[in-house]
Point group: D4
Chain length 252, copies 8
């Protein structure tokens, strides 16, 4: 159960609108659930504000469906990332009302109860068109976590005026996620322009000495703009969770 | 000039306590200053809330002293990191009132004017005793940036009860910096326990297949706890700046 | 011929129930057998307690069948790992009574004679669902070698309570195999909790800076829990043989 | 407190030779102790059979002495590895009766109470003379953990008869630690000759494409002899702890 | 034109059996021939004793056929390696009498004139069955270059008696090519047993930390048996040419 | 708009043949254009002399077509590289008059207005036949940028007379692009023979320890011939743009 | 002899001011000269416009002095780079009139005859103060080769206004050398701003995941600004020679 | 005992000039000798034609002296390589008549009995002056093994005429060792020019992306000249032993 639902439940117990026994039953659900091939961490919604997210790569359709059903049953919503094409329709059948984002490769079922929202904006900036799938994974995840997500697309440093002409968007964001492959230089330039947290996501876009994303990863780790942090190559999901950690921390 | 000083100045202009011409003179200082071997970015204090920090490694004592004098002249304080032993006394002579932290290898001159403080805590967690210099660099930097810094030392996962018995400290922090070498596994465990932002700093502590910090760097980039972000190996400074970006963003 | 069969044979010669000439014929079989493309090490069953195991990857169906026939002919059982899909039915036809484990990609024909069993348990712990094929390869191998195999699944450190709630299973094992991809941090935590031998198997599960398993491999080699040993990436087979070396050594 | 001491204490309580209050006082010592720069895991002796071992590299003499004093105070002995030359005499002064092994770079204070011994032999085999410091670290550690340690020196595979002529020693060992740099091939040959556990330690001995031990590390991870496990480069300490885990597991 | 053909031609000119003008015409052929997409080095047969060998990978069938025709036209034979499956029949049609070796992926047209043969033996030793394609490429190449090729198969060091029982074959060879993947340890053992040149070929056989052949490559470069030389991963062709350089050098 | 078109327009304004308002309208087009998934840098033609080149890899046909239409609309021509096979016909339909080069994987629409040409020659030298696609990409790009392109094919250093016999072609070139895989040694030899700029392009041609082009990349970066510069692996496009930067710089 | 001196000599022979025999003697000097430990390429001055430059690292003072004497004897000047501190005074004694640049670690003796100069400017741009030694090596070399050298210092992208405010200097250069460590992002930004050739020099400035310059090297090889070329890490010398190749090519 | 000494001894037994008992005593010496820290392989002289060579790096003076004494006692000569400066005089005192080569870092005591010599020449070709120590190690080793050694120095491919003018020396050699750092391109050019065996030795000469010799190592492994073999970085010793294997093989 998400933190806000527990808080709401406790409030109702306090004001008498929910009897103690009923609240107890809700809270008494097991924090973990074993499916044999998976051990679901239901406690995560309470501990970290969102249920365990399902990483789709390498899981069979049967496994995905079974895990999604159990998480959905708790009522806090479901997010699956890197969903293999072959599993999408089965997952959508399992989760009525869920949304599929083809570019992001995600399936999202929103929570059935109102959720706390961060009311502040994550701006997702991409260096090139090919970085979009990773950026979109970040955007879907940020929204699933209750944040607002804006995009600024294809503003790589080879034509720096494209970025500089968007200073307004940069200044209005509360957190900025920079998604870039090849030289990854965009993260340093953005990091030097703004004061807010900047999370850099290297992508595997490129060829040759890009080495599947190692080049932008190293660029970002060595950013001459201080205070830029980095997540794994192509990990749009992780960047958005980091953004949500920041925004929720400052609104509670 | 730091943002808060400019804000203060403008407020005084608005209420008539400072004449326009006087304020203009203060604001008319050049945003960059060239020393031949360096181009100081004085605009950084306004843009990012703290003056350019001096990275001491590879600079001569003469260069360090000259740069420090120019930055100090603006009145927003000075921080130098990785200061070579041979340059410390010259730097302390140049900056009366500055503090030297031998473990962190820093020299810090606090701002002559009151600074905005974040009033929230960065908790710096280390896996082992040998990670302390990097942790201390983070602590000094965080304090220079107006944050509070707490420490939790030598709580690596080989004795997980050491960490678990400190849940209280973890729960009270607004941002957590995890400093770890060798297997770097502490970042994942902490990331799974808390909801706030976790910034991981791999250290070059270790030997053999640690490869000067590559092992914990990769561990942290691949953290199974979502939303953990990473900075460069041994980069305690960068982690603290990232924490300050987070905390200042949420207090303004 | 396995050690226990030779020991049994010698015992019968000693008590007169088997004539010397008959025993001699059994023992006179060549220790190696050449098939042109392979040189089978029949002596391994006697030297190391189990016949040469067939590594299926990169071998044609014809080669697999021919090698399996020769090993089966000695009566000590057959184990083939990494069996290509295209070779499974031919192999099962060749080895009547053999069992195919699809997840583990193994074909196992148990020994026709009773084998010494270790009577002690190898516990195979996995960090995530995607690590299961490697874990299952370990389980099948351990059982083929006469050990008992238990499983603890999907207890990665991002939700450490999942592992801590299973202290009982950890404490009862005689050897623990930890199978983990991504950050590989589970090995260090388990290594710190128990006193028995811990064998870590990094998996190629993950993406980006996981580099096909290098990240968890380095994590495990640098484990801050002393005495954790490591096998090759995805090498569930090797981990189980190491466990069998340990358990058989202590029961003879 | 070591497991055997606790067991002994409980036995005496049971037979009345130690009063409950006195036993309680002994058991009531804190499981962890904080020195500011270190958090000592006193519980390790009970949990894993030997007190926390002090890794000397990167620690100041003051830190080493302080940690050693606290561990020694519990009466279960002290082992420090990789002790810097400059700290040796201070450490020996701090620990009366401690032994310094210059080749192994260790300082060992034996337990003041009798300890459980494994009564079985770890054979430490080295490929070349330059591998001796790592081998000796393993030997000292094994003995500190209550095992017997034998050596077989300079029997690399370039002259395979040197190894084959020692089959007797190989056959008598309960666990074999193979220490080798350069090509690391010795581990595979030994692994193929024996049935007992083989733990391989790559060393940084060599030059050029040895890459500080990466070459033998990879050789050992890819050993064609099944069931060979590997520890970090130059980690003689870890190999011995792994051996002790094996031998103690089988004697309890 | 091969060296021996030129030598023969000159001999006949000397004894008058071939007129000067006729010999001149034969010798006046261009040393290089341009096909637009390729510049054939016809001089190589004279300079190095065998025509330019065609590396098939990455070439279209049209390119392979055109190059093969031009080389065949000079009468010194043709060897193509790594021939793509799709190009085999076209190449065999182009080169009547050519032989296709499926395992080695070669097409060989022997020289139409008698060639100098080395009359001495290259022994090709393989560690495992999966190394056979590389070994067979070496064997075909060695024979094309006029050497005798023998094989010793699947004698890896995990069962060292398989190799030791073949000392006779090792002692009779003039050059030994060792083909091994995984740990590549066979090269060191063979190098220590014999006095003749040993050429090591690492193969990409293996998985995980084999890294596509880097592991055995490093093993072989660091061989503790002095004087073992190494060629590129999977380069059976290059090893055989090196062997031919040795054997022809010693017979002229 | 390309520089020369702007220069021409201004000249006409100066001589009265184009009214100011009309020129203004032409110049008033936006320097960037957003398509949602892409932000086209139309200013590049003016700033750098050629419109933004479309990198085809990783873009959908729809994206390629949309971007190409917008660039073509400005009248300065279009170049698309690494065009996926599936997008070629749609792109040719979109750009009437465009030319497809199958070997180079390019689609080129020449500018509708006369362009400044460099009138000097880029010589593209390749080591082997398999390097041709990269070389051809360079040639098409050089011609699109207004340079002349010559080729010298398959003159690798294993038969150095092939290169030395072409000294004339080398001496006549204004810039030389050396395209080579495997050992990449050709760049050093050419760099030592000529005085003009030499741009080296490593290719991913090769196998084993070529590591997808790392081997020739390192060779070229370490060239013992001073002043050889290097571009990314397989980056024929980048080498040609660098050549155009050189040649246009010297003709203006 | 430099090209211009030969050209001058031939002109004088043509006009009769130098007798044929005298010119012949000047031209008859050996193109190479062997010192036992070195083979000097005196032909380089004629072939490439400047005498062989002496790479000082790894050479003894005796070797440096001997080589410098021989090159100086030809009258075309001498440049030594990476001169060890211990060899400087001996070298200055050997070469009267030579200049030592401590930052660049060079010793330069200018040619005794007037040399062709390129009359155009190489602008050397550095990201940080620590990049200066490499930049200065480039500047000294460029001047030795007859080019003009300007500097733009410490304008890294973390404060992009520092660079943008210098557009004038960028626009006036004929070739730009960008020297940067850490993230190396400056090369991409400069490459996108200008039309002239941009040569990027990664430096080993940085720490951790900079890996001695690999990070900026990869950034530069993957530059999203087309046509940026790269030289080896810290190779200011090579970058300047590349610039001289460009500028001399366009002035002859 | 060397092969030739045993052969001589047997001949004398056959002709009666040495009594059987006396020969028996000579032959009865142990094939291995244990010094505790080393196990000397005295059998190597018989098996491979030269006694075990002492690798000096990492051995103490005491160890070096002790090993050298034992080997010298057998009368077949002693060779020590990589001898630390601090051990040289002790070693020379131990081995009266031994020669120290400072450049090669070797100490050589020639055999007290006449040795078989190969009577053919190993030509050692170096690319630059800094490669000389490795080349000299090769030369001393080759001579110790009974081969003739010639040198060709500083003929790198940046000035290819230096090499081409020495075709005579190349054509007269029986084996060629190419020693080169930086780009390592010399091996390919030499390999293409000659027919005899070419052994390539990469050196750690260079900087930046040379990576301590990895660059030339990869160049040489990927040589486009077929049949070039490679030894470890800086391994002049190994190259010479490989040459001796070739030359002795062809003379027996």
């Amino acid at each position: 159960m998400r933190r806000e639902r527990v808080r709401d439940l406790l409030t109702r117990v306090a004001d008498g609108s929910v009897p103690v026994e009923s609240a107890l039953a809700s809270l008494a659900q097991e924090p973990t659930e074993s499916l044999g091939f998976a051990t679901i961490d239901h406690h995560r919604a309470l501990r970290q504000g969102f249920p365990e997210v399902i990483y789709g790569a390498g899981k069979s359709t049967e496994q995905l469906v079974a895990i999604a059903q159990r998480i959905a049953g708790r009522g806090d919503g479901v997010l699956a990332t890197r969903v293999p094409d072959a599993s999408i329709s089965a997952l959508l059948d399992t989760l009525p009302g869920a949304e599929h984002n083809a570019l992001a490769r995600t399936v999202l079922l929103r929570s059935s109860s109102p959720t706390a929202t961060a009311r502040r904006t994550v701006l997702i900036v991409t260096a090139g068109t090919s970085d979009l799938p990773v950026a979109e994974e970040a955007a879907v995840t940020a929204e699933a976590m209750g944040c607002l997500a804006d995009r600024l697309t294809d503003v790589g440093v080879a034509g720096i005026h494209r970025l500089l002409s968007k200073r307004g968007a940069l200044d209005e964001a509360s957190v900025i996620i920079v998604v870039a492959g090849m030289d990854g230089a965009l993260a340093s330039v953005v990091g030097g322009l703004v004061r807010v947290p900047v999370i850099a996501v290297p992508t595997s876009v490129g060829y040759g000495a890009s080495f599947g994303g190692i080049a932008p990863l190293l660029t970002m780790l060595n950013s001459c703009a201080a205070g830029v942090t980095v997540v794994n190559i192509d990990n749009g999901f992780g960047a958005a969770v980091a953004a949500a950690r920041i925004l929720h921390g400052s609104t509670e």
